[in-house]
């Protein structure tokens, strides 16, 4: 690599990462600001954290979001895994084109359309069969499950198509029936993809403002909805504190996850090398 180019690349990286991280760092710094104004540093204080924890509305919203996130990520896994399996292993069947379209479409659908259409569905269903009676956590969960299931299906499908199908054929050849093959062979092999799919769904659900705003009812305000309504008016130190907490939580989780991944990779490498030495 020539020196000139490497200087260019390094400065691109420095500039790029500064662009990515300076705004986040500023939020963190100003969450400890005594004063209310962003621009003026009025001394160190943790008072915004205290007021955040005393903000019942915010705590309720966070609790709602967590519950919806866990529920819809789990449901999305339960629906998306068979959908991905069907896409990569079931060959042709009647209605396959529509099926693959319904999996691909949520990924490119603008959120406002998804939100509007689901709301209209819920309203119509309520008129016709009386369910769901009003809107709330359950309608948000259904909405999140639907688009997260599509993401899970895509993750599972791509993992499965990258996997040697003869491993599953070998299981069948040795006498295992299709259902058993899935649980004993396929599932353990795609477990990391499933975990990634669950986490992705959980994050998407926690993050969603637009769809939730459409299908939420009274008493089912989620955290993003709460944050949105308060930041619409401008900067709020409490939100700075909340942001800092979220960033902290995510960073800790990511660091732990990468350490775990790195360690298991190292173990596997060492094991593989050991195997090679033995031959």
């Amino acid at each position: 690599m020539s020196g000139k180019r490497s200087t260019f690349l390094i400065s691109a990286l420095v500039f790029g990462f500064a662009f990515l991280y300076v705004p986040i760092l500023l939020v963190i710094v100003y969450s400890f600001n005594e004063g209310k104004l962003v621009t003026v540093w009025a001394g160190f204080s943790t008072k915004w954290y205290v007021s955040l924890f005393n903000n019942d509305g915010m705590i309720d919203a966070a609790w709602n979001s967590l519950r919806i996130g866990v529920m819809s990520a789990t449901l999305a896994l339960a629906l998306g895994t068979p959908a991905g399996l069907v896409m990569s292993r079931f060959g042709r069947f009647k209605g396959r084109t529509l099926f693959s379209g319904m999996i691909a479409a949520p990924l490119v659908m603008p959120e406002v359309i998804t939100g509007l259409s689901l709301l209209l569905l819920f309203v119509t269903l309520e008129q016709l069969i009386g369910w769901p009676a009003g809107r709330g956590l359950s309608t948000i969960t259904i909405a999140h499950t639907t688009f997260c299931a599509a993401y899970v299906a895509v993750v599972v499908q791509s993992r499965l198509s990258g996997m040697d199908i003869s491993v599953e054929e070998a299981a069948m050849d040795l006498g295992a029936k299709p259902g058993k093959i899935f649980f004993v062979i396929t599932l353990p092999m795609i477990l990391p993809a499933l975990m990634a799919g669950w986490l992705l769904s959980f994050t998407l659900s926690l993050d969603d403002l637009v769809i939730a705003s459409f299908v939420a009812g009274p008493g089912s305000t989620t955290l993003p909805m709460k944050v949105f309504s308060s930041v619409r008016l401008g900067v709020s130190p409490e939100i700075n504190a909340l942001a800092t907490l979220i960033i902290l939580a995510v960073s800790i989780l990511i660091v732990i996850a990468s350490i775990l991944i790195l360690r298991s990779e190292r173990l596997r490498n060492r094991a593989a090398n050991g195997g090679a030495e033995a031959t």
């Binding site: 491993v167 069948m172 050849d173 040795l174």
Partner: protein
């Protein structure tokens, strides 16, 4: 299935040659089997009998339909038309997990999340065999393939050769009536492959299971197989023992596929009950065959000459009327044990000759542009009509 268990005192098919016995009952039978993928014929009207205890090889170039044929036997593909019988039972509609066959996959397809032991035990577990019995049989199998030491390892901790043994043990442990092997040695390097060929044959002789093997390597097929089916574009070209295929190929395809051959195109000019003469524009002499040829005068034939059956001399042989070509040495390949020569005839045709270097020489016998004669016994040539 139990009767297929270790009958060590099984007959030796090389001696009994059931395929030459009209009363022998085939163990595996393909009846006019065709497999289409869309409009494409992967296997086209194949009929084939395989006998018990055989090590049968399907040989052919890449994409000729060998794997598809094998997968239909295993139950992963259903024939578009035709029937498959194993031990007299029609396999139509029998799913893979109920068939009395087991397969050793080209990629080995070991379960990555299970240890060697668990991999080998998998098939027995599916059959609900008792724990104690599983333990014993797995141990026996691992001993047979010399993998006892590695029982607790995971597949990614094994070398290619070790994985191959585990795959073999896993597919043999259920004592299938038929073991299917798709390019069993394809993933090994050359040295290991040659060594493993004999081991595989030994194991087959020990367990007595009927093996059906797919390979694209003619040397491997000839070393291991009792009989070989040569496939080309979904069709079986010829079936026979390695000896029959090499000595009596029925077509240019087979002759070319097994070993090396010089093919000289010519026209039948003299056809008798005891001999035949073929005239060729490619050769600068007439070709005399010491047996009758099925055909009429004026028909086109190809004379197949194996390079090692040709004699190379500096001086003209006594009788230059028949089977005696003259030309110039164009290329020389010195391989140590043998030398190969490309002789260019006046007609432009090139003939390949190999000679054993059975004695040590001070200098090479021939050099470039030497004028030489190529001759052969009347019985050395085969005559092919396709």
């Amino acid at each position: 299935m139990p009767e297929a268990v270790l009958d060590r005192a099984h007959e030796d098919v090389h001696k009994t040659q059931p395929w030459n016995n009209p009363d022998a009952v085939p163990y595996i039978r393909f009846e006019n089997v065709t497999k289409k993928f869309g409009d494409f014929y992967a296997v086209d009207d194949v009929s084939l009998d395989i006998y018990r205890h055989e090590l049968f090889a399907l040989l052919g170039g890449s994409g000729c339909g060998k794997t598809t044929l094998l997968r239909m036997l295993a139950g992963f593909e259903e024939p578009t038309s035709g029937k498959i019988f194993i031990d007299g039972v029609d396999m139509a509609g029998v799913p893979a997990y109920e068939r009395p066959t087991n397969m050793m996959f080209q990629s080995y397809a070991l379960f990555p999340h299970m240890s060697v032991e668990q991999n080998v035990a998998f098939g027995l577990v599916q059959d609900g065999v008792s724990r104690a019995e599983i333990k014993e049989q797995v141990a026996d199998m691992l001993a047979l393939v010399q993998m006892t030491k590695f029982a607790k390892r995971k597949p990614h901790q094994l070398s290619g050769g070790q994985r191959q043994r585990v795959a073999l043990a896993r597919s043999l442990v259920k004592r299938p009536k038929v073991l299917l092997l798709d390019e069993p040695l394809g993933a090994l390097d050359k040295k290991l492959r040659e060594q493993t060929q004999f081991e595989l044959v030994n194991i087959q002789e020990k367990v007595g299971t009927t093996f059906v093997m797919v390979t694209h390597d003619q040397e491997e097929a000839m070393t291991m197989a009792s009989r070989i089916a040569v496939m080309n574009e979904g069709v079986i070209n010829q079936i026979g023992t390695p000896f029959e295929l090499y000595e009596y190929p029925n077509s240019r395809y087979t002759a070319n596929f097994l070993g090396q051959v010089n093919l000289i195109e010519g026209v039948l000019v003299d056809d008798d009950e005891k001999y035949a003469v073929i005239k060729s524009d490619e050769a600068n002499c007439d070709i005399y065959i010491d047996h009758a040829v099925q055909g009429h005068e004026g028909m086109t034939f190809w004379v197949a000459l194996r390079p090692e059956r040709l004699r190379l001399t500096k001086d003209a042989p006594e009788d230059t009327k028949y089977n005696c070509l003259s030309g110039k040495v164009e290329e020389i390949g010195y391989l140590g044990g043998i030398s190969t020569y490309h002789v260019r005839l006046e007609t432009g045709k090139r003939i390949k000759v190999t000679e054993p270097n059975s004695t040590r020489q001070i200098e090479p016998r021939y050099t470039w542009e030497d004028s030489v004669w190529v001759s052969w016994e009347a019985g050395a040539a085969s005559v092919l009509n396709k």
